[in-house]
Symmetry: C3
Subunit: 352 residues, 3 copies
């Protein structure tokens, strides 16, 4: 692995190696205190994301590395009057690894073309957030010993949730997963995700209530439902209570259920659930830090490598208005095949 | 000591141990370069306070630890849409010690309930700022060899000054202190502080002029008088010169007087005093850093400990509008006895 | 060297020592991983300058030191209600070296008067930016083996460019430099710079076109031309293309030419030049980091020294409205001789 842009690019074998290292770190963190000694991480947050930022920073510090960067583009002059290419070229001259959060889809892929050091995608708009997925898988593997064969409930807004889609895609690397997709009809999983699950022979069922399926679950992954996502506000009011996890609903769940949440939680998990041993959402954040330690230990120690020259583009070939190619006009016209469809190699949107 | 929320919770013995460590650090800082190796401090400043923030950061760095956090909530998304409980639970999963500044009274106490690691109060509204007190006592002890038996002048706004009240309370742990309380009548020390000094058999006198008492002082603690504190602006104009320390007023003081100030100074100490060897207010800031090094060396090395579950509250029992319980509604209804009066255990305000 | 305020204060011998250390660091960076162990750099950016800030931070981290400070005065309370003297006195109590960027001319010199530790000028308004010059000279020396005897083209806005003026002055320490000053008439080098070059027996010629002289150059230093600098916008439109470096113009240049730029580049260098091996502007940023590592290795390891008392001024003697003495009224009335003219010792403006 040179960069981590999309968890889909990580093979099962690469994942096993990464998890094993995370597991070693959790068992004996003191052995890794100098793993990134002398290495410097650039942390470029073109939009604030305090949790992700803190997790990466503490991960790097705990393996003996150091950190610089910005948490908010408003307090930086980097984003003004300079291309992403120039910023990344400069920053990758100072750093050993670059962590980037950017509101534009495909920005991390674009950065990786010009960087002399590995780039880690810490979220590129609504597109990918691969280290959230590594946090999720690390939590499940650490606490259940495996991912294969689990019954996983995904609850909340399954239409818009990037986290949930990434997790589904990542689970395709494992065997015997059963998905219980728990969402109001308006916020059901999109058709292309259903197609993805069918193509990958993944078992799934869609339901509109949490209570009936909760006894069958090994993992319950909660996500937030935002009022703004509903066309009809009354529909939101009718629905919201159904998707709130309470101590009472938890009574009928398995004793070794894992209740997970990408955080921040608003009110979709009642506060009285927090003290239940099955509530692992805060441990999940901590496991995310260990997973990032494992990742950085690998990537920050790779040798610098002058990037290969790339073609200079003449404007976007992709029509996704949030794609990075819409603003960084020099990007090369790269495409890729996703399931037989020609797509933008940056944001994965299908090309006309 | 697990947390440092209120200097009143620190016994004389604990203070002696802390000071001894600070003193050891000042004598041989190179011996402490790895005292917090591998440890990470979270620095959560919900309101900016650059001096306190810098002092804590450099303290942690000088004992070999590392730092992450935010200096200003505007550049963080943490304060939005998340309870203090959730933020602290998450952050204490990443950190070994949490330093928090928060505009709400009792916020540090609240944080300590949910933190898996020690919490240090770096100021909670107008309530407490215990490490300012440790800075003050470290300065006096280092430069005079002791605190017992000193004549201490407190000058300026003694009505509103949190720093001054904390120092008076802390001095109750020592013997034979004489206080000279130097303030305009409008800004005299509040009655409850007088009661505190009487209960603790502390000698004090109140005067409205600095010049007459300055020859008797071992320590002169200056604070700022803000125009806004006066009901009558003319009263401010009449008064302000009286409480300004000048080179001329200093002429009649003892040769080993310590002139102290919590900084920033505005014009209550004339700039020509700075070069006088008795002016130790900048050394005081540096001693504050050493005191914080001693504190962090202890607290950042304590083992993680899952916090005990606490009762979920149903809204505030305290009517102080600045109390943290007014905004964090799930906090438990904790109370305590202060001198026989039932008070809020977070902000110390008397209940009804 | 105690402080680095103005590259003009650095002797040729001091420069050679500094460059040699930078060169040693580039050859074997792992030998310097602990060169600043236990040392702390204060990074005070009173105006944002992300590139300079990143370069200093990563430099300090790569020699084993640590960093605190602010990147933007808006997120700091330091700049409010406190003199520069008080801020620097406090900060130099926490730090081992202070790096300061400040919009006021002479601010770094002012800070150095009150600091117990070395001060490095990271830019003081339009006045000086000495570490940009060290970056430039390090790049040339590293890539060409020497500075003496080179033919150097300076292209763009030579009237307002602080970088270019500093480089010309620095080059006076070397032998046999030939300057090709390439600028529109409106933005030609100022008369006092011409006088400086004549006094120092430096060869120079002024031209208005880049293409005709490019074959003669060993170094081509590009700078940005801002539309706002032109009295007549049409003049800008007529001119701009002439001073844009393209792949085509580069065809006639020497094979070992160095194309340099202080960054950020806007459109004065065409993007298709980036892959040409002669384009070294991004390497230049990286060499700047190594030069700063060398500088910090020296200055951060110097012993603390209580600053000598200085006279308290009674208002500015200098009439430059951007001079630091206009706002910091206590500064002493220091003057110096520049080429026989009495000047302000802070901002170098001639008096009266």
């Amino acid at each position: 692995m040179r960069h981590l842009i999309d968890f889909g690019d990580v093979s099962r074998e690469e994942w096993e190696v990464l998890y094993q290292r995370a597991s070693d770190i959790m068992d004996a963190p003191e052995r890794f205190l100098d793993a990134c000694r002398g290495k410097v991480m650039a942390s470029l947050f073109y939009e604030p994301s305090t949790r992700t930022n803190f997790s990466f920073q503490t991960a790097m510090l705990r393996v003996g590395g150091t950190v610089f960067g910005f948490a908010d583009p408003k307090s930086s002059s980097v984003s003004k009057g300079e291309t992403l290419k120039d910023t990344i070229t400069m920053v990758s001259g100072y750093a050993d690894v670059v962590v980037m959060r950017n509101p534009r889809e495909g920005a991390a892929k674009a950065a990786s073309l010009y960087s002399a050091v590995p780039v880690i995608n810490a979220g590129d708009g609504g597109h990918m957030h691969p280290t959230q997925t590594t946090a999720d898988l690390t939590t499940i593997t650490r606490l259940r010993g495996k991912v294969d064969g689990l019954s996983v409930g995904l609850c909340g807004d399954l239409k818009n949730g990037r986290t949930v889609h990434s997790l589904i895609k990542a689970m395709a690397k494992f065997q015997g997963i059963k998905f219980f997709l728990i969402a109001p009809r308006e916020l059901a999983v999109p058709e292309y995700m259903r197609a993805f699950m069918r193509e990958n022979n993944m078992w799934f069922t869609e339901v509109t209530g949490l209570e009936s399926v909760i006894p069958q679950l090994d993992v319950l992954y909660m996500t937030r439902i935002q009022r703004e996502r509903f066309v009809d506000p009354l529909e939101y009011e009718r629905n919201k209570g159904v998707y709130v996890l309470t101590r009472r609903k938890l009574a009928r769940a398995k004793q070794d259920l894992l209740v997970m949440h990408p955080l921040p939680r608003v009110d979709e998990i009642s506060i009285d659930v927090d003290d239940d041993p099955r509530a692992v959402y805060f441990e999940q954040a901590r496991y995310g830090m260990f997973a990032r330690m494992a990742l950085l230990t690998d990537l920050a120690n790779q040798p610098r490598r002058k990037p290969e020259p790339v073609e200079i583009g003449r404007g976007p070939v992709c029509s996704n208005p949030n794609c990075v190619t819409q603003t960084e006009l020099y990007l090369p016209p790269l495409t890729k095949q996703n399931g037989g469809v020609e797509c933008c190699a940056f944001c994965d949107a299908p090309l006309r």
